[in-house]
Amino acid sequence: MLARRIIPCLDVHAGRVTRGQQFGRAEFGELADVGDPVALAIAYNDQGADELVMYDITATSEGRGAILDVAARVAERCFMPLTVGGGVRALADMRALMLAGADKVSINSGAIADPELLTRAADQFGSQAVVLSIDVRARRPHSRASEPDAQADPTTAPRRAAGGWDVYAAGGRRATGLDMLAWAEQGEALGAGEIVLNSIDGDGMNTGYDLEALRALRAAVSVPVVASGGAGNAEDMRAALLTGVDAALAAGIFHRGEVSVAHVKRVCAAAGLPMREVAA
């Protein structure tokens, strides 16, 4: 049986790992420096992380050079799956990241601007290399009583009960008018081989993942789904995986040393989730 994955995430700005809240911005001094990406990657590799995700959160030309360098140095030392994203808008961006050592490339705003990019990427590199990253905020319903269908049709209840989710672009800065489930379904049809769902509300807040969104997305697509945004402890990651998604991603709780990957795996395994055991 396929193991569920625990994935540390490194937000890389100017060659350093940073951490903020609710998509805080580097240019406003809202991000804390938490370490050297290569040293952190090696530590997570040793802890038995199932995969690493790195985002270039500057996505400028300077940032691009930095992320390529970091990816290459991580791939040199860590024989584990590596996903890299941030500012990917063309096949050339994707090719450069893969040549640097990425196995999968995460595409977010680039796919919103040009959905066919997902298809070209899948044709060139295979769907298994194409990750669609979606940033969402929960849509606040005026009143649940105004949506009587929520009780009438249990198959759509999660979507209706939460009022749905809006997709944001440009690192959470711009509303797109896209609905999360519709965009995810379109992305899968276009060629994405995995979907990472980032809750902007939860980012860095340690309040837990948006479980309703995860359940709704898991039911809507047949590609693997990765939960992101909100992990405050091992139990939050367990709760995410218990919704049926394939992987849970976290940043701050690992970077600050609050929990280890191995501890999270033990907590999840105790709940009956299939986890890859880690050699002592």
């Binding site: 049986m1 396929l2 193991a3 569920r4 994955r5 590799n45 199932d50 995969e51 290459a72 791939a75 040199e76 024989f79 584990m80 799956p81 590596l82 893969m98 040549l99 640097a100 050592g101 990425a102 196995d103 999968k104 044709d123 060139q124 590199f125 295979g126 769907s127 298994q128 290399a129 081989g193 995995e194 047949s222 590609v223 693997p224 789904v225 394939d246 992987a247 890859r276 055991e277 050699a279």
Partner: protein, 212 residues
């Protein structure tokens, strides 16, 4: 005595990881994009990523197919990874018009829809056959990393004794095998941490044994 390996570059994907992992295993890799430059290495590696049809076409167009066939016919070691394993079979549902190399009777099929997420993306278990030197020191049940939507469907009568299987989406598929000098893994040894490095070290050991 030193050993050499050549990694085939057909223009897609991440080759840095397999190159680095082969180096750690002591197999002195060179990455080659021109079939004429393959030479006569102790080990030829086809790291497959992406689409079966694209890989098969790149083979034929670039001339790597004959380089691989000559290498294998010459009795030297070959390792196919992921689509590089699939290409050793007769063909694939992913590109039915593109024949495989036909070195192992079998067909490549897509995991059934609805049973589990596709692609299979992540760590899954190996169930070892009885005598499989590639997995020496690797426990049956060990986890290795997969990223595939298609799998090798090989009849029991054609399955090499030296092989491993893995279960996904209700299917038990051939996840690794050795057939004489031809070795193949559906999983990615270069992404499977210590277990993967052990597989490559085992391959170096059998290559060493053959050359000694």
């Amino acid at each position: 005595m030193s050993f050499t390996s050549v990694v085939i570059d057909y223009g897609a994907g991440n080759l840095r990881s397999i190159e680095r992992a082969l180096a750690v295993a002591g197999l002195s890799p060179r990455v080659v994009s021109d079939p004429a430059a393959v030479g006569e290495p102790d080990l030829l590696v086809l790291p497959g990523q992406g689409h079966f049809g694209q890989v098969a076409r790149a083979f034929r167009v670039s001339g790597f197919e004959s380089a691989v066939r000559d290498h294998v016919a010459g009795g030297r070691r070959f390792l196919g990874i992921c689509v590089g394993l699939q290409l050793l079979l007769d063909g694939s549902d992913e590109a039915p018009g593109e024949p495989g190399l036909g070195l192992l009777p079998g067909w490549v099929r897509r995991f059934p829809r609805g049973a589990a997420p596709v692609p299979q993306m992540g760590w899954n278990r190996l169930t070892k056959g009885t005598d499989f030197p590639l997995l020496t020191g690797v426990a049956s049940g060990a986890y290795v990393y997969f990223a595939n939507s298609y799998y090798a469907d090989v009849d029991l009568e054609h399955r090499p004794a030296a092989s491993a299987t893995t279960e996904y989406a209700g299917v038990s598929f051939l996840s690794a095998f050795s057939l004489g000098n031809v070795h193949a893994t559906q999983f990615h040894p270069e992404k499977s941490q210590t277990v993967g490095l052990r597989v490559l070290a085992n391959l170096a050991a059998v290559t060493h044994g053959a050359a000694a």
